[in-house]
Amino acid sequence: MNNRITSLFERKKKDILNIYFTAGYPELDDTARILKHISTLDVDLVEIGIPFSDPLADGPTIQNSGSIALENGISLAKIFEQLEGVRETVDTPIILMGYLNSLLQFGEKEFCQRCEEVGVDGLIIPDMPLGYYQKHYETLFKKHGLVNIMLVTPETSEERIREIDAKSEAFIYAVSSNSITGGSVNVNAQVEYYNRLNAMNLTTPHLIGFGVSDRDSFNNVCQYSAGGIIGSAFIKAINQEGALEENVTKFITEIRSKN
């Protein structure tokens, strides 16, 4: 199977940068615009958030961007329209992140079908339990070439981490703390947890997210994993005054700068 995410992790083992942004934000039609521009920069992976009225796992920044996107008129159907044709120019692997209710209302089969058509490679559905995925979605995801990315946290037991590892195809999303997205994190306090993850010699690589906001915190998590995921800080950066593309470039350049 030629999935862009699995290929990425086969090819690259360190310093992977995954950028999250909310579809339909800051303006309704910015989804493809941000995606196309990011693909010209040093970003390995993008995660596009499907706005939801009640996003349990998200902190204030991402929630707020989702509310604005909904006011802008975003919907799941609209997101697929916006992604139509992006694969002509964009090679970067694309993950959709959203809540299960959005899939249910869209129709699970239609959702997976559309993901495949527009070139989505993976999904993060934080409120879909592992057992439920196995029972109801695994076959469907595989049929449409979609990898399911699951989360682990500092409180996840070793037994469960191994279970998740066994069911993961591309990477594991390691949540840095008992937090919601965009929280401030004492990264040093997480070292024990990161070391514990590494000592488990999992078959799936992991990226660390939540609280990764700038060059230093990104470089720090890279020491302990295959890379980092930045969401809230990116959302804030693209909401600054100035041209969208310039803000994106400035943010990514800063994260990737060497010193």
Binding site: F52, S53, D54, P55, L56, A57, G59, P60, Q63, N64, S67, L70, S75, L76, A77, Y99, L100, N101, S102, L103, L104, Q105, F106, P126, D127, M128, P129, G131, Y132, M150, L151, V152, T153, E155, T156, S157, R160, V175, N178, S179, I180, G183
Partner: protein, 392 residues
């Protein structure tokens, strides 16, 4: 009704635990322990003792002569309004706080809409010496100032939920997020039969004392343990499931759940989740809920803050789909009329939630021999402002 739920917390296709991984350890701890703890003899002794001596149970089953005459049936009111703190909510908070203590938790968090569950939680925390934080929508904090003052006097910290629509569903989101951030020492007391498994089952178990008492009381009064009708209002559905619990398995008793129609089911200003009938996931549970075609949860409307919730407990979705209960709805106006009538004819000021159950009486055709129980889930002190406007 224990057999209705499977080991994964599903009532048929409804329920479950659709939680982000961050909540998994918290919820798993409850799933693994609550049955053993709550079914132990010492738990039940402590729970029953507090319900009796502190809450004031059993609550009376009051035969209303005036309503019986008016509606042509034997009409009883289950007086949950006479519980300490004025509603059935405290049955659940007492049960959960004993559970929290036995799990070694130090802090309690809870969501509240109108503030009834918040007050009941703050009360239980004061009694048991636990730290208490209540999440409440910023709009509700303004609308329900007296209950906010009570919670503070009882020693609770009240945190405004400023996201989304700033009401009950957002307070619930904030409480869940707070739980994510404090997984080890904190217990989250959910106020209704909603949320991830095992909450719907746990809250139903604690509220089942209502129908347990009705059975005993009816045996004395009427010589039967099977009323012909039990009528209760339903938002999340905790008082309704408490009143239905011991009657679900008998084919004789007709269970009637009354949703809040708001300005009317088709008005766009309603809280009738079953009537609008779309399945989905809200607060980690699969159930009927009010949502757009895109799956965005819609802001509900009801004159009664306690029914102002866009979902309904999964057990009720199951009772509806399996025709084990009948679901109807009552408008704001019909509820106000019924509340006013009870005040004038019985000298009881009911909570606006309970007024919805009372309003259903107008729509029934009883036989004179029918034994009817209406669950009077709470008293109306908190609703005086709304009733007052109505009288003018």
């Amino acid at each position: 009704m224990k057999h209705l739920i499977d080991e994964n917390g599903f009532y048929g296709e409804f329920g479950g635990a659709f939680i982000p991984e961050m909540l998994y350890p918290n919820v798993k701890e409850l799933q693994d322990n609550y049955k053993e703890i709550t079914s132990s003899k010492s738990f039940q002794q402590e729970f029953r003792k507090i319900l009796k001596e502190y809450v004031g149970r059993p609550t009376p089953l009051y035969y209303s002569k005036n309503l019986s005459t008016k509606y042509g049936a034997k009409l009883y009111l289950k007086r949950e309004d006479l519980n300490h703190t004025g509603a059935h909510k405290i049955n659940n908070t007492i049960g959960q706080i004993i559970l929290a203590q036995r799990l070694g938790k130090k802090r309690i968090i809870a969501e509240t809409g109108a503030g009834q569950h918040g007050v009941a939680t703050a009360t239980a925390c004061a009694l048991m010496g636990m730290d208490c934080t209540i999440y409440m929508g910023a709009i509700d904090i303004e609308r329900q100032a007296p209950n906010v003052k009570k919670m503070k006097m009882l020693g609770a910290k009240v945190v405004p939920a400023t996201s989304g629509s700033k009401t009950l569903k957002d307070a619930t989101n904030e409480a869940i997020r707070a739980w994510i951030q404090n997984p080890v020492d904190t217990h989250y007391i959910i106020g209704s039969v909603v949320g991830p498994h095992p909450y719907p089952q746990m809250v139903a178990d604690f509220q089942s004392v209502i129908s347990e008492e009705i059975q005993i009381q009816l045996a004395t009064e009427e010589g039967t343990t099977k009323p012909d009708y039990v009528i209760a209002c339903v938002g999340g559905g905790s008082n309704a499931i408490g009143a239905f619990y011991h009657f679900i398995d008998n084919n004789h008793t007709k269970l009637i759940a009354v949703e809040a129609a708001g300005l009317g089911v088709s008005s766009g200003k309603t809280a009738a989740s079953i009537a609008l009938g779309k399945k989905g996931i809200i607060h980690a549970s699969k159930t009927y809920l009010m949502q757009t075609n895109d799956g965005q949860i819609v802001e509900p409307h009801s004159i009664s803050a306690g029914l102002d919730y866009p979902g309904i407990g999964p057990v009720h979705s199951y009772l509806y789909d399996s025709s084990k209960a009948e679901f109807t709805s009552v408008t704001d106006q019909e509820a106000l009329d019924a509340g006013m009538q009870l005040a004038r004819t019985e000298g009881i000021i009911p909570a606006l939630e309970s007024s919805h159950a009372l309003a259903q009486l107008e729509k029934m055709n009883f036989k004179s021999s029918d034994v009817v129980v209406v669950n009077l889930s709470g008293r109306g002190d908190k609703d005086m402002g709304t009733y007052e406007k109505y009288v003018k």
